[in-house]
Amino acid sequence: MSYIQVQNLKRRYAISKSVFVDALRGVTFDVEKGEFISVIGSSGSGKSTLLNILGGLDRKYTGSVYVDEKDIKEYDPNYYRRYVVGTIFQQFYLIPSLNVEENILLPLKFGKKEEIDFEERLNYLLDIVGLKHRVKHFPRELSGGEAQRVAIARALIDSPKIVLADEPTGNLDSKTGNDILELLKELNKEEELTILLVTHDQAIAQKTDRIITLVDGKNV
């Protein structure tokens, strides 16, 4: 059985009592452990909806999503969001009043694995994202690329098995975007991470192991 199995996934939003929008209309795909895949599609194709469901933020879907042979609805939602997946957003979403170190460690405030030495983990992540010299800096003092690196480190602090990246290079120039992509590829190898990257940029998608294309809520 594949590490992630998405079967006939559908998601319908009610705009009003009689108007509905089908964001996903039966998406099916598998992802193997340690695979780095991209989900590509135009605006409104259902990419973000898919990511919200895989990230455990949206549970109002039909069909099924299995992660590590377990339906994600059977996971405790908080446990799933803390330890199974790590999410990276296009707008970074750092907490402005916390410095780099505090932002990276923030997920631990909501629960942490006893067996992990988080000081060592923090140093390792700071090293790998190249921000050791910026630990006490606040988000407003960082460039876009640096802010996204902090967001990546934050997503990985609890050692999740899957990283979901929603347009992680969308707000960056092409060089910085490429650097971030290289960083994700490096983490994919170093940490044996399974990465799902959502993008509308074909060039970025080409650099991943496999591409899933969504058109009008279906994969083609």
């Binding site: 919200n52 939602p77 909501f110």
Partner: protein, 426 residues
């Protein structure tokens, strides 16, 4: 989570401060209640106990003995009142009550201006008490003089009188005090025509520390003066007709209540006992306390509404952030706790501000309050406000609790936010 909650409210310092002002005012009122009202009650009772013995009863014939402070008199009450004249027969009846040790007559002589012979300016508060007590009685504090028993033409003066005339106790003893009929009555406006022009001279026999009175004269002599001014044949006729205004009845230990019952029920007299005073002071301070508690509670409610408003505003501002922390693993309960911590912190800030300001105000005001009380005769009070650490702790905890209670609704609203919608919120 605590540090994160602190970081959230530290972003809105001014709003947090302004919101906490409501709690601060409520805390200040509550602090004054706890630190001031108990002290007020203690001050009154301490002063009372320093002057009066618990076995003493003050007996008068008027049901309005404390009317000036307890309630307004009503015409029908006066019409229906069966007034007992405290004449010598009544005094004898009181003496026969089991448990009565001594009876002292106490009454006021009014309608005179009091001059020190050779000085043109009268003493401004001409309250002259007639007593048949010697100066070693508890009523007189720190007597200075050779003879403690008032002679017929003797007078005790208070230390206020000596300071008014700028004399020492030794200098004033032996000088003459002259009582001249006042041209105005006690209310200070209506000319008093019903007086004789008779003046009375007394020799200062001793100096005592004051409560409210300034002069004390022999009661037999006082009765003669009152009879003469009232047009009575003699003091016996005066007593028979007007009677004594007040008696001090000393009772045996353990018999005070029994005597009080007999005086009230058998003789129809009004009695003021230590218990009456304690009850009165308790009622007075309880009334003030209730009033302040009501004001404090209203302030707390207004402050709570302020906190609710601030927290709801925060939710709108932090919607995206709530989405982020939910996306990285915060549970609904943890979001609830983060917002409750913020609300509790606003309460804590208000509580600490209120306590600190009240503490400083108390420190500054204490000497003035003590002096004010001393001027009113409460000389036993040396410190009025007492900082009570345990009550300060309770107040602080209460203000945190008010903050948390006010924060429940906004916190629940924040906790229930859908993370997907929260992340999309602009």
């Amino acid at each position: 989570m605590f540090k994160y909650a602190v970081s959230l409210i530290s972003r809105r310092k001014l709003r947090t401060f302004l919101t906490s002002l409501g709690i601060m005012i409520a805390v200040m009122l509550m602090t004054f209640i706890l630190f001031g009202m108990t002290d007020l009650q203690d001050a009154v009772l301490t002063q009372f106990n320093s002057v009066f013995k618990p076995t003493d009863l003050y007996v008068s014939n008027s049901s309005f003995a404390m009317g000036g402070v307890s309630s307004a008199p009503r015409k029908e009450d006066v019409q229906n009142e069966e007034k007992v004249v405290i004449d010598n027969n009544v005094v004898e009846s009181i003496k026969s009550i089991e448990g009565v040790e001594e009876i002292h007559r106490i009454f006021a002589v009014t309608g005179f201006d009091v001059y020190l012979e050779g000085d043109d300016i009268p003493y401004p508060r001409s309250l002259i008490q007639a007593v048949d007590l010697s100066a070693d009685n508890e009523l007189f504090v720190n007597f200075t003089g050779d003879d403690p028993v008032l002679k017929e033409n003797g007078i005790f003066v208070s230390n206020y009188v000596t300071s008014f005339f700028e004399l020492s106790a030794d200098e004033i003893i032996g000088r003459n005090i002259v009582l001249k009929p006042s041209q105005i009555n006690n209310f200070g406006s209506i000319p008093n025509t019903n007086t004789t022009a008779q003046e009375y001279t007394f020799v200062v026999q001793g100096v005592v520390e004051t409560d409210n009175s300034a002069f004390w004269i022999n009661s037999d002599r006082a009765l003669e003066i009152l009879a003469q001014r009232g047009g009575f044949k003699n003091k016996e006729e005066y007593i028979q007709t007007v009677g004594y205004s007040q008696l001090l009845v000393s009772t045996q230990d353990g018999k005070t209540s029994q005597v009080e019952d007999a005086l009230v029920n058998d003789l129809g007299l009004t009695v003021i006992s230590t218990k009456t005073i304690v009850d009165f002071v308790s009622t007075l301070t309880a009334g003030l306390t209730i009033a302040l508690i009501i004001f404090g509670s209203i302030s707390a409610i207004v402050a709570s509404i302020g906190i609710i408003n601030t927290m709801i505003m925060s939710i709108y501002e932090q919607t995206k952030e709530i989405g982020i922390i939910k996306a990285i693993g915060a549970s609904d309960f943890q979001v609830l706790i983060i917002f409750l911590i913020q609300a509790g912190l606003i309460g804590l800030i208000g509580g600490l501000l209120g306590l600190s300001i009240t503490y400083l105000l108390m420190k500054v005001a204490d000497p003035y309050v003590v002096k004010l009380l001393s001027d009113q005769g409460f000389t036993a009070v040396t410190t009025f406000f007492h900082f009570q650490p345990l009550n300060a702790l309770y107040i602080t905890l209460s203000s945190i609790l008010v903050g948390i209670i006010a924060g429940i609704y906004p916190a629940m609203k924040a906790a229930k936010l859908d993370p997907v919608n929260a992340l999309r919120y602009e």
